[in-house]
Symmetry: C2
Amino acid sequence: MKIVATLSELRAARAVLPEPVGFVPTMGFLHAGHISLVKAAKKDCRGVAASIFVNPAQFGPNEDLAKYPRDLPRDLSMLEAEGVDLVWTPTPEVVYPPGYQTWVTVEKLAAGLEGDSRPGHFRGVATVVAKLFNAVQPQKAYFGQKDAQQAAVVRRMAKDLDFPVEIVICPTLREPDGLAMSSRNTYLDPEQRKAATVLFKALSAAQSLHGRCERDAEALRRIMRETIQAEPLAKLQYVSCADYDTLEELTTVSGKALLSMAVYVGKTRLIDNFVIG
Amino acid sequence: MKIVATLSELRAARAVLPEPVGFVPTMGFLHAGHISLVKAAKKDCRGVAASIFVNPAQFGPNEDLAKYPRDLPRDLSMLEAEGVDLVWTPTPEVVYPPGYQTWVTVEKLAAGLEGDSRPGHFRGVATVVAKLFNAVQPQKAYFGQKDAQQAAVVRRMAKDLDFPVEIVICPTLREPDGLAMSSRNTYLDPEQRKAATVLFKALSAAQSLHGRCERDAEALRRIMRETIQAEPLAKLQYVSCADYDTLEELTTVSGKALLSMAVYVGKTRLIDNFVIG
């Protein structure tokens, strides 16, 4: 496994990878969710590249950039064990050198939900993904459904800007009790960790209500809201029942919909989602 | 010469071009300036692609999109005569299909000068160039110095977003009396056409003053302003003496600088520039 830091090293190493190249962009502190993306890339592609970069541009001024968990040696050995060919670990100065001033914005999809709570977040995501695509030039790129709005923004950005990259969205991996895997789960103390299953419970309750033919979106939002509010350690930020493609809030669920939520457990902000219909 | 309209036709035709591929993006109604870009691409590259697309996103609501001059048959025969291999002539619906919502912005370089007079113009330029790069995937792309701020914005955008494309800026081509070639010159009546040489005269006067060791930027702006104001058919919009790279207005000219201006002659807005130092 080749590990490179600069853009020119990356371009040289990329040029000799067998194609198609599958690419897994990450912010490191890898868990089984990331590894499932790598496994999907290995299955589809002759060459597999990954990146590890905690992207400052997608963190707000009051967010957890400095304390975002990092463990590069562990990440690298996990990627090596999966047979990854190339890992790019750029510094912030490589990605955003002095004078940097170009931004990619996806307008409607980046508004609402996470975009409301995290102004500028999706501008940072869309920009870094565009840069990573140009740097790595993969044929396929792999993202997790866990970050549902990010997946929608990246799909839209790649389509709108005509990137010759197929976007593959892989299912959310979960702990045995249903908690979606996330690098941020490491912030939770044992009591909070138990309480954090309330997101899965709330989504499951709404899914089950939908399964019993409830088509009123507000009823689905209500059962999620009530489930979260019944957990004393959880503080709801939003619940949503939105169109799967446009992410616009629904009145009536007819086709494919996204149930999603953001919840604080202590100081840790967790998100999760189910696709229904 | 292959002429294609859809993105999938373009990708198929691009895939069989010999590399390196040189690319000349245009809005059509070609003149000798465009052809000089094609000749430069032919000289450098084994395959040459061009695009003809009057990009609605770079026209303001009060600008001349509808009456922008078009002559596709003539353009195609000019490109064919130069030995271009592939021409993409997409419709606006191909470039901006329903639901389109992704924009590329270059912040500081797009403010001031043309950016002040034409809000949103460089967002439209940066976005369409990013799309064209992803669609055509050239190794080199050719732009004219005539649109100096556009050249700076495109260079910055390509660098910031890590496009694997070398940006080549070619000199402005001029009529025998000095008027910079532009598709918009066609709007001028014979009297206006004569008056339009005032841009070249003003730039030449400032260049000559700089050649006599004048380093005060305001003195250079003043002589340009006064030259334009002496022409009754011309109405000055702005003059600038700015840093070549950052486009920030200078107080003192020490290194490479850009003299530039926008002038109305009748209803026609003309721009021109000289690089000095």
